[in-house]
């Protein structure tokens, strides 16, 4: 198992090099580079001289290949992701500051997805083709169909018009006031988790229907077990294996969702950092965020693969 984990972590290296290369190049290809932005925002005359000076100061005058290797070298030898081109603050520090916030949001969304999706999926399968099944399935389609950014905007706007209430927009850190922090994160987490919970529900339902037809379920009933015990002890565990796979596959989708929802609910996480960095063409931050997200996604999928070993005794890692 240890050898397996080490091998998986080693496989991370080429993935990350490839991903960082793509991100590194593409952000520099976006029309309107950082120099244009700086020159226009600072009211400095956009003459040829100041442009060259700025490029030299930011290290953007070198060929892209050498920029890339300098960036890579800094990571490998100094453990540094460079500095923000605007604030001149270390990127690593900024990311480490915001990572826990996004992690919390993503984790809460995942929690929502599983706590809503699995029980409803089981219910829907056990009551196949009844009114309850149709109602829950319709809600699942609805939850999938409504885009998160739209629901988020509605939640921000309408309660304030109707009741003079709106979600908190000043971020409260968990360390500061855990309860208010959780309350603040709950709404974006619900919205982020809603589509995911619909997918989990549909998959759980399908898998439960499949598993409930298996011979070992008949064996369990023939032993005299109640339907409830049969479902929980004999069916659920086997039905959940693909759901775990889904969690790994959906992790990047969740990250994408946080970018939008952090913007709407003004949560200072990685998503908001990324959005600001993209609009300001703050190249080191963009590449840094993508690198960290890449590592996170690969690690989540490694965890998913390892958890198969707990659910499915046939899986053994060598």
């Amino acid at each position: 198992m240890q050898a397996y984990i080490i091998r998986r972590l080693l496989a991370l290296i080429p993935t990350l090099i490839f991903a960082s290369l793509i991100v590194f190049i593409t952000v520099r290809l976006i029309p309107g580079d950082i120099i244009d932005l700086m020159l226009s925002s600072n009211d400095i005359g956009a003459d040829k001289k100041s442009r060259v000076q700025l490029e030299a100061a930011l290290g953007l005058d070198k060929p892209m290949v050498s920029q890339y290797f300098r960036w890579l070298g800094a990571i490998l030898f100094e453990g540094s992701l460079g500095k923000s081109l605007w604030q001149n603050t270390p990127v690593m520090e900024e990311i480490l500051h915001r990572l826990p916030i996004t992690f919390e949001l993503g984790l809460m969304a995942l929690f929502v997805a599983l706590i809503v999706g699995i029980p409803i999926g089981v219910y829907s399968a056990v009551r196949q083709d009844t009114v309850g099944d149709y109602v829950t399935r319709s809600f699942a389609i609805l939850a999938l169909a409504l885009p998160g950014f739209w629901v988020g905007t509605l939640v921000m706007v309408f309660p304030s018009i109707w009741w003079g209430w709106s979600p908190e927009v000043k971020y409260i850190a968990f360390t500061q006031d855990p309860l208010r922090n959780l309350a603040q994160m709950a709404i974006p987490a619900l919205i982020l988790g809603k589509a995911f919970s619909a997918v989990v529900m549909r998959l759980t339902r399908t898998m439960m229907l499949e598993v409930m037809r298996q011979d070992y379920i008949r064996t369990a009933l023939a032993k005299g077990l109640a339907t409830r015990t049969t479902i929980i002890r004999h069916a659920l565990r086997n039905a959940l294996i693909p759901v775990v796979t889904l969690v790994g596959l959906q992790a990047p989708v969740l990250v994408g969702g946080t970018v939008i929802l952090e913007q709407i609910f003004v949560i200072p996480g990685m998503g908001l950092l990324l959005l600001e960095a993209v609009s300001q063409r703050d190249y080191p931050i963009i590449t840094g965020v993508f690198l960290v997200v890449g590592v996170a996604v690969v690690l989540i999928n490694l965890l998913v693969d390892l958890s198969y070993g707990l659910l499915d005794p046939k899986v053994r890692y060598r």
């Binding site: 298996q214 070992y216 064996t219 023939a222 032993k223 004999h234 499915d312 005794p313």
Partner: protein, 330 residues
């Protein structure tokens, strides 16, 4: 003495796209304590559905027990509440299924699955129930039982899994064990071992056994009495020895001619039964076996023969049961 199990007029239907199918039609039989009854027939003859109906394990919908009663130790199983029938399942009546590969849960240890009915019905704590599971695995001659309880089904061979299933069935010392083709999915070499084991452990526990099979060879060796089913109905019933020696239904005769026997003349050919099993959704008005029967007459094709006493302990549903007994083997 009243029989342990008395099935009377049992009928089970399935709703399908092509209408209602009577998988089991008016089936009756008795079983005494400690006795072994074989239910014989081809696939689709209704033998498995009969077995599942006794414990009400027919999935509803699409299935439904439409008539009859199943008296077990003085109570009708078909009218019990869900809770009452659950108290009987795995406790006083246990089942062994055909597919040992898929009948055990792949994600739970074998020991837990054997201990489960003990924990459920005897309220034995898990640790003690697991000790019992080790003992039960020893009783079905599993070597190294103490470590085997911690294994998962995929680590077992087919024969070992079926031993585990037998151990599971024995867990609560049931008065009746229903074994639904327990050896069909196993290697020939293992089949005999499993059957001998099943017979031995049921005898030791004084449990009655319903052995569902399509193998007449099995019947001769292990059963006290036999019911032969065809098209959802019982066509012949009686003591195993009697039926084996003097079959009184053309279908049973056909079955016997299609099975190799050691006392046959060398070089003699096996005779298959021509045609295929009947479509239960569309049974002929007369005898269900008539389309495949070489002796069939217009009487057979138009009038369904009833199950009648051919001799005091031998029932047959053939219009010509009396003539048949005289010329077996022709």
């Amino acid at each position: 003495m009243a029989p342990l199990l008395s099935v009377k007029g049992l009928s089970t239907e399935f709703r399908t796209e092509r209408g209602i199918v009577k998988a089991v039609d008016n089936v009756s039989f008795d079983l005494a304590a400690g006795e072994t009854l074989a239910i014989v027939g081809e696939s689709g003859s209704g033998k498995s559905v009969t077995a599942m109906s006794i414990l009400r394990l027919i999935p509803d919908p699409p299935g439904k027990i439409s008539a009859g009663e199943v008296m077990f130790d003085g109570q009708n199983l078909l009218t019990l509440s869900d809770e009452q029938i659950r108290a009987i399942r795995g406790n006083r009546i246990a089942m062994i299924f055909q597919e040992p590969m898929s009948s055990l849960n792949p994600s739970l240890t074998v020991g837990l699955q054997i201990a489960e009915p003990i924990n459920l019905h005897r309220k034995t704590p898990w640790a003690a129930a697991m000790d019992k599971a080790v003992e039960l695995l020893g009783r079905v001659r599993m070597s190294d039982a103490a470590s085997r309880v911690k294994a998962y089904p995929h680590q077992f061979s087919g024969g070992m899994r079926q031993r585990a299933m037998i151990a599971m069935a024995l867990a609560c010392q049931p008065q009746l064990i229903i074994a639904d083709e327990p050896t069909t999915a196993l290697d020939v070499t293992v089949q005999a071992q499993i059957l001998a084991l099943l017979k031995e452990v049921t005898r030791a526990a004084n449990s009655a056994l319903i052995l569902i099979t399509h193998d007449l060879g099995v019947v001769a060796r292990y059963a006290d009495r036999v019911c032969v089913m065809y098209g959802g109905r019982i066509v012949e019933a009686g003591p195993a020895r009697e039926i084996y020696a003097r079959p009184r239904h053309p279908y049973t005769i056909g079955l016997m001619a299609s099975v190799p026997r050691l006392d046959q003349e060398a070089g003699s050919r096996l005779v298959p039964i021509e045609g295929s099993p009947p479509n239960l959704a569309n049974l002929p008005p007369g005898c269900a076996f008539a389309p495949r029967c070489r002796r069939a007459t217009d009487l057979c094709r138009n009038h369904r023969p009833l199950l009648v006493q051919s001799t005091p302990d031998h029932l047959s549903a053939c219009h010509f049961h009396a003539q048949l007994s005289a010329n077996v083997g022709t």
